[in-house]
């Protein structure tokens, strides 16, 4: 009896919480704005998807808590949460017919009410809303009772279908340029997928995933079971295919997506550098943008064809100077903060970042670096007589930079210096008592990290052809830090994944305007709760967060 009451209480709580979330996304205007955007033409809008996301998620999560055998109870819980989620929305609908809520909440418009009531009158609409929400909750809870063999393909199918629908605008443009407008029309309608195509895509992906379940591991096993020499060959083949894809990528992606990839690439470069400082060496640096700025300004001053340029260096000739300048800056910052740890270090580096930005903005240095007007007429990189002005061409410069930085990071991680960094990160005193020279170790981390960032800044300056102090604000430092945390601290592939998620996705979702940062923040919170080690964690990081599970399973044997 007691237990039953408890379950009911928990369900009531989650149901209402889910309802409040649905209510708040409606009232701040997200549902209204997103409803203008079709996902699957004529069937589902993005606004509806957002509205149903919270009951679906809560119903699934609650069902997971209920015992596996008790499917009736689980389904009932889903149904219950669905109905409860609808209630705050219905109250909103009813109140808005009595009072003009728009005076207080700008986003509670007639359109929103129409969306919530499916264009019906208040009574019929409310009932419809309850039914739909209940249905969503029921289905979501039902997913839990489906064997994983079927559940996994369905999830995959849904993710792909929604993903393709979400990015239909970019994708349809690409499909058109490759296959012509006839095929595009079959697949997409304005900025949404055609219903039929969505179904085909879902079935296709779900089918492939289902088929793969039996075979995926066997491909990996096949390679693992090869003799070392053969195994090496296979690995080389896969590496070759990977590089080939990277090389032809801009041809597939087209101008706009190449530009997005270039931005992601610059962030990857910075992320790889900060990953050495924070991820490997454990030195929290919040002023990382300073080195990016120093790299960019060095490039600008050395190559600019405008009044502020001091020499007519080419991009390539200036590049080593940019890296050298930021490495020196890294060492200069490193020396005074040698004795600082943790929070204190973070504050000092934060200050350093601001000093550089404010200096770039100051009148004092205006004769040299242009103050707020910045530096203009920076030439793009060129090879021989070919100027690399298209994003698809600049891509290769960034790609080479990223590959070099990734290779250096990878080799350093497994080197003696990598070990020193790791020991220092864990415990500075013990590291010193093991015979590690903390001064050199710290300065090397700062210097190498700064070098990667300077390289990124130099390419950035040349890519934009003009730079201004406001491009180097604190937000960049925070973004870079966030992306290495989301990817997984200390993990090199994690940097790539983090940059793609935190830099690439928002770039593609520009149409969501001011809600972009809200979603960004939401993603970070959910991510830290659900997967604190990051999307692609390093082995050591994984160990830390799952040490308990490992130890318990270790003791069983």
């Amino acid at each position: 009896m007691r237990e039953k009451q408890n379950t009911l209480k928990i369900l009531l709580k989650s149901g209402l919480l889910s309802g409040v979330i649905a209510l708040s996304v409606s009232m701040i205007g997200m549902v209204g704005l997103f409803s203008q955007r079709d996902m699957i033409a004529g069937v589902l809008t993005l606004g509806q998807l957002l509205l149903f996301a919270s009951p679906a998620a809560f119903a699934y999560l609650e069902a997971v808590k209920i015992s596996k055998d008790d499917w009736r109870k689980g389904l009932l819980a889903g149904l219950f949460i669905g109905v409860l989620s609808a209630i705050p929305l219905i109250i909103l609908v009813i109140i808005s017919t009595l009072v003009n809520l728009r005076q207080y909440f700008v986003s509670v418009s007639d359109t929103l009410i129409q969306i919530l009531t499916f264009n019906q009158d208040v009574f019929l609409g409310s009932i419809l809303l309850i039914l739909v929400m209940a249905f969503v909750g029921l289905i979501a809870a039902g997913m839990r009772y489906m064997p994983i063999k079927y559940r996994h393909p369905i999830f995959q199918g849904l993710i792909w279908t929604f993903g393709v629908s979400l990015f239909s605008e970019v994708l349809s443009e690409r499909v058109r340029s490759f296959f012509g407008s006839f095929i595009t029309k079959i697949m997409f309608k304005s900025r949404a997928t055609q219903p039929l195509f969505a179904i085909v895509l879902f079935v296709f992906i779900a089918g492939i995933t289902y088929w793969q379940q039996g075979h995926k591991s066997s491909i990996k096993d096949f390679i693992d079971n090869q003799p070392p020499k053969k195994k090496r060959q296979y690995q080389l083949i896969f590496l070759g295919i990977g590089i080939l894809i990277l090389i032809i990528l801009p041809l597939i992606l087209g101008t706009y997506l190449s530009e997005v990839i270039n931005n992601v690439g610059l962030y990857i470069l910075m992320g790889l550098g900060l990953n050495i400082v924070v991820g490997f060496a454990g030195l929290l640096d919040l002023g990382y943008v300073a080195f990016f700025a120093i790299g960019a300004y060095t490039m600008a001053v050395l190559t600019s064809e405008g009044a502020l340029g001091i020499s007519a260096f080419s991009f390539w000739a200036a590049l080593p100077f940019c890296v050298a300048a930021s490495v020196s800056a890294g060492i200069l910052l490193g020396i005074p903060v040698l004795r600082m740890r943790g929070d204190y270090l973070a504050i000092v580096t934060l200050g350093f970042g601001e000093i550089i930005r404010i200096m770039a903005n100051s009148d004092l240095l205006k004769p040299f670096i242009g103050g707020a007007q910045g530096i203009l007429q920076i030439p793009k990189p060129s090879i021989g007589n070919i100027v690399l002005f298209k994003p698809g061409q600049l891509y290769y410069v960034i790609l080479i930079g990223v590959l070099i930085a990734a290779y250096i990071s990878w080799r350093l991680r497994d080197s003696r210096l990598g070990r020193q960094w790791m020991a220092m990160r864990e415990d500075e005193d013990v590291a010193e008592a093991m015979g590690i020279n903390l001064v050199n170790t710290k300065l090397l981390a700062f210097a190498i990290g700064a070098g990667f960032s300077g390289l990124s800044g130099a390419i950035f300056a040349s890519k934009l052809t003009s730079i201004f102090p406001h491009s180097f604000n604190l937000l960049i430092s925070i973004n870079v830090l966030s992306l290495i945390i989301v990817g997984g601290l200390g993990s090199i592939p994690g940097v790539v994944v983090g940059a793609a998620i935190l830099v690439g996705l928002p770039e593609l979702l520009r149409e969501f305007k001011e809600y972009r940062l809200l979603m960004y923040g939401g993603l970070l919170i959910v991510m830290m709760l659900a997967k604190p080690e990051g999307f692609w964690p390093s082995t050591i990081q994984k160990r830390e967060l799952h040490a308990f599970q490992e130890s318990t399973s270790g003791n069983d044997t």
Binding site: R419, Q420, M422, A423, E426, D427, D429, V430, E432, A433, M434, G435, I436, N437, L438, I540, Q541, R543, E544, A547, F548, E550, S551, G554
Partner: protein, 237 residues
């Protein structure tokens, strides 16, 4: 020449004086223990010897060479290793990786391999768990690991800070048995302990510290009989 000779050390934390003129001597092959209450300056003495904190005054001689002008990481190369208080193992690394870190100051691959075998022999438990993440070891095993890691530097002088802290009595006995064994293999040991009974039963000589000063020094056997020591540290009325 004494293995370690400390003369009149004054060490400060900021403006607070922690050591008020400590002098002590450890001869080659000895086990010497420092006993004393919390805050007496035992750990500070060890930290001063291995260079983690610099004294304002005084000298530390290791076989006639003054260590004061060397940094902590350089002193390791002189043959001094420390087992830090609270063990201080690298929790995210495996047992083997921790041991390899202990040998960081060395480059003789063959010698490291031999010493690895030696510590595995000393602590068979660590060999069993060599691929386990060390943060998941029990307290006693972590203490073994910290000791083994310090031995991997093949020190001539081993500084041990409270090896019995937080361990069950049965494990404490095991740890002290190993201390004797390590000493028999030729390593000189300076042992800081609150568990005076155990410390005095394995040590050759002892010093008693009180608020940063040495108040008593004698052979371990005599200290055990000393009325003041019995009352204050051995719990005998």
């Amino acid at each position: 020449m004494a293995m370690l000779e400390i003369n009149d050390i004054h060490t400060y934390y900021g403006n607070i004086q922690a050591l008020r003129g400590i002098s002590l001597k450890v001869e080659q092959g000895e086990i010497v223990t420092l006993i004393g209450a919390n805050g007496a300056g035992k750990t500070t003495t060890l930290r001063t010897i291995c260079g983690l904190i610099k004294p304002r005054q005084g000298s530390v001689y290791l076989e006639g060479e003054n260590l004061i002008n060397y940094k902590a990481h350089e002193i390791v190369y002189k043959g001094v290793a420390m087992v830090p208080e609270g063990r201080g193992i690298f929790a995210k690394l495996t047992v083997l990786e921790n041991l390899e870190m202990g040998a960081f100051s060395r480059t003789d691959t063959k010698g490291i391999q031999d010493d690895l075998e030696f510590v595995y022999e000393l602590f068979p438990r660590l060999k069993e768990r060599r691929n386990q993440v060390s943060g998941t070891l029990s307290g006693g095993e972590q203490q073994m690991l910290a000791t083994a890691r310090a031995l991997m530097a093949r020190p001539r002088l081993l500084l041990m800070d409270e090896p019995s802290m937080g361990l069950a009595p049965i494990l404490v006995e095991g740890i002290f048995e190993t201390i004797v064994q390590i000493n028999k293999e030729g390593t000189t040991i300076l042992l800081v302990e609150q568990n005076a009974t155990m410390a005095l039963s394995v040590a050759h000589r002892g010093y008693v510290l009180q608020t940063g000063e040495i108040v008593l020094q004698d052979t371990a056997a005599n200290l055990k009989q000393n009325e003041m020591v019995q009352k204050a540290y051995l719990g005998i009325d």
